[in-house]
Point group: C2
Chain length 403, copies 2
């Protein structure tokens, strides 16, 4: 059996994801699909709309064979580290290839871009630094450096201003640095741009568009068209049980309290809080009535929305620089769920898989895993406190879902 | 003009307090009464039922001439430090005497007890240590040591198991260690034991009894008999505005969230969190639905309810051991309120007062004061978040109340 790996958040799992995983299987000529999925907090620095277990169920119902967890340490990191963690785990679980959706859609230009940057790494870094010093954001500075380099050595490159191209680039970079034999593949993204609202009559929409529709309207019919019915049902179950989907807006009272109980000096202990932004965070928290209100006050040319959200995630979960400093590569693979075929695969290839597969985490002592369990517990209490009753689901007691 | 000092929490100000302050004036032959009052968090390690400004109004309406703030550092500390801060400030503001209510009611036995312990300090400490090692609580161990010593050197001593006698002893000890000329006086406490419920027809009740009556019943008539009408009105105003009085039970969702977002290792950074209790705190927080439920799980022979509440206060406000380590004696006196007579006194004796009097704190940079403002802001947001609107009163902008 051949396995292809994909890197996902499934926030929520929609028709575009179903298409992507079928394409991944096809282009990789694979028998099964293994998804490495972020847990409770995501790469844009925000809580997932529903917990990892519900998203695992959607994934399995949608055709994924095995879901493993991308640890918090990577799932909430900037693209380089995010990709490093994801590709490391897909490699470790014996995938022969990984496939990512991209705006570009062909793999050769990705490899050209990687070659260009890898060959001229020090020039590239110097150009980035140069741009950062003008006060530009990190993404803007990357773009500047890349434009300079690619004009100097013309070839068929990818457009590195497209979000999925950027991630793809980092996957390829991660695979190269890991010296992994895992083969990179890409699939063109279809329809729906990243930030576009859900279109009437469409069957494909972006997750961002779907979340917006769920947050602001009750037009469930439109949403129903762009989700597998299983995803739709799981979302409706969650909504019935909790009354809302998780979001920073929902968590705002707890986030505001958390920000304000810190002195600005104490805030600097958390991951990514640097350069004096702690003062701005506290000042804005004192005068804001909502998360959006707060973000509008804090964002600036220098700090992207995503970067600020990542800081907030680390403050909220209490993830410190000191902790991060002591964490190395994952030393385990945490199973979140698997189909019957997925189970058969794991039974067959157990010996080739380099890392221990963890089903029940209660018995394991591991610092990186402890961060995941902690983040999940904070997520759970945040979801529960909004509905004013206090059943705290225990992440460490939840076994992988078998479907 | 002669000023007598008193040490108060006024949680809330009741008829017993009114009696005490009149007696204090009488026994000290003083013209005015100066109260050093705890701010938002109190010595038993809990939030005050109403904020310091409302309690200041009750105090002034009830006959106090000047109210100054006992900084958080002292107001939430064990008796020794609590007394040290209070007597230091009363001394600094030029009181010739201080008067405290006690079960004993006469000053000579207090002085005898202080002499006994001060003369045999090392034996006393050894006896305490001996008892602590058997697993007894700190108060129990003090009692043991004291009984041993006083039996060896018989004289007219106070009963050191009575809560107000204990505080009185520490006031006298603090005055002696400060080498202050301030004269200690005591007034017998009348009626109502510390923990007794409010009695029908009574005009005197303990603050504990009053808080219980307000929390559990709506029998405002009984309460009305034991409070000056001004206190009653201020409490009713607060209740109308906020819908509840501040308490750990009210703050429980935020306290629970705060406990759970820490790892046990991180909890040990806070003041008074020692000896492995951090594990018990997190374990209990995960499974408790209310503050009382939580406390029943955490309290033990070793840790008194009060000691645990003090730890929780420090965790809640984020007051760390490192912060405490860097704080020395108060270098200012913060005015919370004054009557016309109080103002006249301050005008007349300004030059004799050793420390700067602070009315507007916004302009002052001081680490000890910053802790107070921080604690008040956390208190305010906790009160406000319960009522689901987000006006955050700003402690640093509130001037002293003049009545």
């Amino acid at each position: 059996m051949k396995a292809v790996g994909i890197v996902v958040e499934y926030n929520p799992f929609h028709n575009g994801h179903a298409y992507h995983l079928q394409q991944a299987k096809a282009v990789a000529q694979a028998d099964i699909v293994i998804a490495v999925m972020s847990g409770t907090f995501l790469q844009r620095g925000e809580p997932a709309m529903v917990d990892k277990w519900t998203r695992t169920k959607m994934a399995l119902a949608g055709g994924v064979d095995i879901v493993i967890e991308l640890p918090y340490v990577y799932s909430t990191a900037a693209a380089t580290d995010f990709a490093k963690g994801a590709i490391f785990l897909l490699s470790a679980i014996n995938c022969h290839a990984f496939a990512f959706g991209s705006e570009n859609g062909a793999i050769a230009p990705f490899l050209n871009t990687f070659q260009l940057i890898d060959t001229h790494r020090s020039d590239y870094n110097m150009l980035i630094k140069e741009s950062l010093q003008t006060g530009a954001s990190y993404p803007k500075s990357l773009h500047y450096a890349y434009t300079q380099l690619s004009q100097k050595f013309p070839a068929d490159y990818i457009d590195l201003s497209q979000p999925n191209n950027i991630l793809g680039f980092h996957y390829i970079e991660a695979a190269a640095h890991l010296k992994s034999a895992i083969q990179p593949l890409t699939i063109p993204r279809i329809a729906a741009g990243y930030h576009e609202p859900v279109q009437q009559g469409a069957t494909i929409a972006s997750a961002t568009g779907i979340r917006k529709a769920l947050a602001t309207t009750n037009e469930l019919q439109h949403i129903q068209n762009v989700l597998p019915h299983t995803s739709f049902d799981y979302l409706m179950d969650w909504s019935t049980q909790h009354g809302h989907f998780a979001s920073w807006e929902q968590f705002w009272p707890l986030l505001q309290f958390t920000l304000l109980r810190h002195t600005s000096h104490e805030l600097t202990r958390y991951m990514e809080v640097t350069e004096g932004i702690e003062h701005a965070l506290i000042k804005a928290a004192k005068t804001s009535n909502s998360f959006n209100d707060f973000m509008e006050k804090v964002k600036s040319k220098r700090y992207t929305w995503t970067r600020i959200q990542r800081m907030l995630t680390h403050i909220y979960t209490g993830y410190t620089k000191e902790q991060a400093h002591h964490l190395d590569k994952p030393s385990y693979i945490r199973l979140l769920g698997m189909s019957a075929v997925g189970q058969a695969y794991l039974g067959q290839y157990k010996k080739q898989i380099e890392l221990p597969l963890i089903s029940r985490v209660a018995a394991i002592k591991n610092d990186m895993l402890a961060v995941d369990i902690h983040a999940a517990e904070i997520y759970n209490i945040s979801v529960e406190q909004q509905v004013k009753h206090n059943r705290l689901p225990k992440d460490y007691q939840t076994p992988p879902i078998r479907m």
